[in-house]
Symmetry: C2
Subunit: 366 residues, 2 copies
């Protein structure tokens, strides 16, 4: 496949990429809707437009602009990463975890995939009047256990209470600070043709688990959330495999959204072999019933790894040697053309474009 | 006034203080209520019990334990401060500001009063389905303006959307990182008898403004929120006055809550002269109608300063020389006995105890 452009010299190619980025910036995206919809929170197209048109436009600065999960900067010689995430999952408790595990693991993972060792977390609670104190205790104890497992500390916090009907029991925000152990090494823009794409385990388990926990679907599956801290796994990988180019945890919007971000940021094509993507039977079955593609379903303990193609086998071995990477797989590769697109070679021999999500098939998953 | 204890030697006095702290720790407070009430978010007694019994008990670590607004630690030689706050103010827009200004100034101020220069902020939004995009734009632009005024950058963020009826338009969490410029210098536990207590300006304006903006009170006052970034004012003060012992911004629970924290942490008595406390006429009038004491009403741009008594005049001059400290005043002093109590010498010549707030007279103020 080709866009038909003359590929020319490397300098010309680079100039084309820069021109495209420049054009994208000048386009100044606009939110067409007058009111916020659930799609704006789904991690797909509407979310990206909202971020570009509202947040990036107002806050624009060099640290924010890469729009990575964690931002990286230096203070008094210390190279740090900083990230934040709010959690609004419904229900609050589900097989394999609760909002507390999610809130710790989510922020730990955002730091880990930025190449940082997570150190300190903040915790902000918005509680609805009437929320059971026993439930709060369960959530907070899950956070403490998750923090201990990940080797981080919750060092400061805040609690607000809103009137009955102004929240959904409990919302949790965490922010996290880590120390960059691999500065300048990772970034989706460094991805290049010939690289391999891996996932660290079977996908979609968290999202489908939460969906089933709502009881809206008459389906009983032996499934639990994959929520887990990935800092140990990522640390092993980065120590052993110098050719790792980019890491992302595949939360809201799933693996498909991450791959689209890679394709757009690096101006490359991502080619995925559907048959190679690890999907457990319960997830496959539930996804079929829900009419959704597992590639778009949130994980909370899985990362997408892009690595130099020559080191893909080594990366796979290192991942599989870790308990949280036992189900890792090579799912695709990076190509030059067509830039900005994710292509799926289907099990039936066809090829289709895996675009950014439009709408929100599974709201309030994380 | 005296507790009747034999004061004895300094070593014996210190031992008594340590014993009391130890006893308090062993008491293991318990939340008696089965469900969260608005009081748990008011910053008073119920909030303290919730923090001690639920959060501190689960997360206990040396950085969290002082329960300061910002925690302080060292990473790779850099001395940092970290803080977080969620904002749920209702209404979102009020004279003098909106939830966006509050969210930036609140976190900037928590860092400033910890002796840190605020650098980087995170922003987490929880939006209710149906929230007007134009309102979100106003809020975000207010945040950008407030950040520029305070000299900080919003460097990473997150947006979640919840269904209609699961929030109140827009909640904002900010976390902030700053570099400690006065490490080891400030802390409420360093306060000692003979110190002077100051406030940086007239109190209660934010809380009363928000209350009136709800329109529940048939009262028209020429009043606007005091929301402002205090980092410049605090920086001037700390540079000029070596004897500053402790700083706190008087938000939820107002000046009275801060003074109680000082009294308890330093095991001293705080004696306030009611006539010296700067309260504007509109706040005084509204507070009378509402049946509340301005000492308990939230400010969002005022700090309480405790300073060596010999340097109180100098501190007052430095504060008054700054536009945000023009209304500063010396409002009281620190005494040895009775430890842990705040006493108010009233305008009528009496003395009464100013205790921690029970209940929440003004919910959703910040």
């Amino acid at each position: 496949m080709s866009t038909g452009e003359d590929t020319g010299t490397l300098a010309e190619a680079e100039q084309r990429v820069l021109d495209r980025i420049d054009q994208a910036r000048r386009r100044r995206p606009k939110v067409r809707e007058e009111r916020i919809t659930l799609s704006h929170g789904a991690g797909g197209k509407a979310t990206q437009t909202l971020i570009d048109a509202v947040f990036l436009d107002a806050f624009r600065n060099p640290l924010l602009e890469p729009l990575e999960d964690a931002t990286r900067f230096t203070v008094e010689g210390a190279r740090l990463a900083l990230t934040t995430d709010s959690f609004v999952v419904s229900p609050l408790f589900f097989p394999g975890g609760n909002i507390g595990d999610l809130a710790v693991n989510g922020t730990v993972n955002d730091l880990a995939v930025a190449g940082a060792r997570p150190l300190y977390l903040t915790a902000g609670f918005i509680l609805e009047e009437g929320f059971p104190v026993a439930d709060l205790n369960r959530i907070v104890r899950a956070m403490a256990t998750a923090a201990a497992r990940a080797g981080v500390q919750v060092v400061t916090g805040d609690t607000k209470v809103v009137q009955r009907g102004k929240a959904d029991g409990c919302y949790v925000n965490t922010a996290g600070v880590g120390v960059l152990e691999h500065p300048g090494r990772l970034g989706v823009a460094t991805v290049r043709p010939g690289d391999a794409v891996l996932v660290t385990g079977p996908i979609g388990e968290h999202g489908v688990t939460v969906m089933l926990a709502r009881g809206e679907l008459d389906l009983d599956a032996d499934l639990s959330s994959d929520t887990a801290p990935l800092n140990g796994l990522v640390s092993d990988l980065l120590a052993a495999v110098p050719g790792v180019r980019a890491l992302r945890d595949a939360t809201r919007g799933g693996v498909a959204t991450i791959l689209n971000e890679v394709a757009k940021a690096a101006e490359v094509s991502v080619v995925v072999d559907e048959a190679a993507v690890p999907v457990g039977d319960p997830v496959r079955g539930a996804a079929e019933l829900l009419g959704i593609d597992p590639l778009y379903v949130a994980c909370e303990g899985r990362a997408v790894v892009v690595v130099d193609g020559d080191q893909a086998g080594e990366a796979l071995s290192v991942l599989r040697a870790h308990p949280l990477g036992a189900g890792a797989a090579i799912i695709g590769r990076i190509a030059a053309e067509p830039p900005g697109l994710v292509l799926l070679n289907t099990a039936f021999g066809g090829t289709r474009i895996v675009d950014l999500l439009v709408g929100d098939p599974l709201p309030r998953i994380c």
